[in-house]
Amino acid sequence: MHKQKVCTYKVLLHPRRSLIYFDYMKNLDRRNFLKTAAVGAASLALGSRPVKAADKTLSEDRIGILIDTTVCAGCRHCEWACRTAHGLPAGDLESYSDNSVFKYYRRPDNSSLTVVNEFENEKNPMLPVYVKSQCMHCEKPACVSACIVGALTKNEDGSVTWNDDKCIGCRYCMVACQFQVPTYEWHKSIDPHIMKCDLCSERRSKGLLPACVEICPNEALLFGKRSDILKAAKNKIKRKPGTYIDHIYGEHEIGGTTVMYISGKKFDDLKMPQLGTATAPGISEAIQHGIFAYFVPPVTLFALLGTVMWITKFGKSGTAGCTKENEKLQTENKNETSSG
């Protein structure tokens, strides 16, 4: 029932979206996708093959964080705490009261893994809406699927962490991420890091809460089990229908995320990308596994080409000379085709 509500909400929203992103949605519309998939299916053997699930099964007790944008007061203490916890230059906590940073929209970068942005509140200009951005820790993360060496891991507890020892700095994770979260140390030539929120794995291993969760004066960040957090979010919306719109951002977006948002304003207006419910690596992995499927397609192709090679050679054996090689080829190819 809830899902249905989300859908109607989307329908309501569409006409008001900026044209290009509306179009993007239309493009990724399921029906259109299926249509196109049909074209590719013949060559890629898509769809018939089950898509491999994520390597690790997620824990039932995995983490969830709910960011209540109606509660956040924009004090930016989370930015300070995050920097401090990750050993980045943080400065004085009092200096974070400076609201001039809100003049421009900011994204997390290698100097701050989380940032808070201000949005206008039409109902009351004295009470702006603040939105914290950081890694969403997707349930089916595109970055983990994309990483060439598996340097990014979706952990059992739900967090997505980066492995310094593996990363080669190719930045494909940044290309893959729908929220544009991973950032890169552009001005380092040796040992540049991919920087993103790691849900304070170090702090949590010591039994502490993530730094941002702990410092938030308003507990705008609700930290707990994902299932509990979702329940709490639904309750909040049910109890205050005037305050919240009926949408938990991240409950279903690209297969669900660890960090979720509730808001009184449409998420488009808070610069949150409108994403479908299909997982981000879904299509890509389907194609990938379609092409590779236990190495059957490549080996088949190899055998096929070998056969062609043999047939054509056989057809011209009289003129081509080099009969010795020809014989060898024939036997080899026989082996090849029978094994293939």
């Binding site: 924009g74 009092e94 200096s95 009261s97 809460l209 004066p217 109890r239």
Partner: protein, 401 residues
């Protein structure tokens, strides 16, 4: 006078029990140390505080206030969402509460926070009352935040914010504007060890001017025709019995005050509002009405039952409450103009002696409609159906009492 005993004895008993149940334990008392102004009068006010709250318990509680079913069990309590806001019928005036409250329970980085309670209580008078902050407080003494809000952030049930969040949310609900001059340590918190008071002296004796309820509001719209809109505020409150909050919900100071900091706050400004915003409060009830209901080419005259209802309220009817006929819930029930519209059992039980005469023997067996066609008892009775030469009231179907 005797009746007073019957009310007072149970009330005192009830109050005693409530007092036992809700008296904060000693630890809680420490948490909010209240600071009163020096004069004795306000201390007396604080003394009155508890008594008043007990005397004003008026709401009716039954199982169905909280449970879905008539017979809740322990396993299936079928709890409804807490009707807390409906339960509160206790009214405290701002003067009853403390003038200042010092919140120093959670002070790890800073000194305790001085909170100007009275000024805020006065402001809340205009926007939802005490419950804006003291939510979940049904009856009895004001509960300590700590009663429900745990002090630890890592806890089992995160649906209720922790204590730190509970405090901060109360303030940041309205105070959301940060700047270098207006950060944590300049607004509420002083660093540990410092003895600077952040509550300015101007706040200490500040009161909001008393608000007077408007009787009638008239607007002129930009339309070419029907440009006058009249709104009778007094009628909506007095006659139609609307509560303030049914229209004035989700409002804040900026309803009247300008948002610019450098403009004299006493000066009131009106914000430009969209057409939807203008219509929203009215549309809650008047959704089905035509535009003409409010938009006219002249000011409307006050409510008149004969004009609005098409029926003059005569004799006894003019003194009864509206809900006698139109029901208690909004929107009011439309009733017809006939007597039986309200007097449902009129025909069977009516003692015709009340009309001034008793029927003669020949008339007792007749049905009402024989003389009062169409069930309309306001018209002159018809005699000509049986008698060619008789007419009411010259001739009576009986003897005058």
């Amino acid at each position: 006078m005797k009746k007073i005993h019957f009310i007072l004895i149970p009330l005192v008993f009830f109050g005693f029990i409530l007092g036992k149940v809700f008296t904060p334990d000693t630890e809680d008392k420490k948490q909010i140390s209240t600071e009163f102004s020096q004069d004795k009068a306000s201390q007396n006010d604080a003394g009155r505080f508890h008594d008043n709250s007990l005397l004003r318990v008026t709401q009716k509680l039954n199982c169905k206030s909280c449970h879905e079913s008539e017979y809740p069990t322990k396993d299936y309590p079928g709890l409804l969402s807490c009707p807390r806001s409906d339960m509160i019928s206790v009214y405290h005036s701002p003067e009853e509460g403390p003038e200042f409250v010092k919140i120093d329970e959670m002070s790890d980085y800073y000194n305790g926070v001085e909170f100007s309670h009275k000024v805020h209580a006065e402001m809340s008078e205009m926007s939802g009352g005490c419950t804006g902050c003291h939510h979940y407080n049904t009856t009895g003494p004001v509960l300590n935040c700590r009663k429900c809000h745990e002090s630890s952030r890592s806890r089992e049930d995160v649906s209720i914010p922790d204590l730190k969040a509970a405090y901060h949310r109360q303030c940041t609900n309205c105070h959301k504007q940060w700047s270098n001059e207006n950060g944590c340590s300049n607004q509420c918190h002083t660093p540990k060890g410092s003895d600077v008071s952040l509550v300015s002296s101007s706040v200490k004796s500040k009161t909001h001017p008393v608000l007077t309820l408007p009787a009638k509001l008239v607007w002129e719209t930009g339309a070419k025709t029907n440009k006058i809109v009249t709104f009778f505020h007094n009628e909506h409150v007095e006659i139609f019995g609307l509560e303030c909050k049914s229209c004035h919900n989700q409002e804040s100071c900026i309803k009247c005050h300008t948002v610019e900091r450098n403009i004299d706050p006493a000066k009131l400004t009106r914000r430009d509002r969209s057409i939807e915003e203008h219509h929203k409060p009215c549309a809650n009830c008047h959704m089905g009405n035509s535009c003409q209901k409010c938009h006219r080419d002249r000011e409307l005259s006050p409510f008149d039952h004969s004009r609005s209802g098409g029926w003059v309220l005569k004799s006894y009817h003019s003194s009864i409450a509206c809900e006698k006929c139109h029901g208690t819930a909004m929107p009011y029930i439309r009733t017809g103009h006939k007597c039986i519209s309200c007097h449902k059992k009129f025909s069977e039980e009516f003692d015709h002696k009340l009309a001034g005469f008793t029927f003669s023997e020949g008339h007792t067996g007749l049905e009402c409609k024989n003389c009062h066609p169409d069930g309309d008892f306001t018209k002159t009775p018809v005699c000509t159906d049986c008698h060619d030469d008789k007419s009411f009231p010259q001739d009576l179907p009986g003897t005058r009492k």
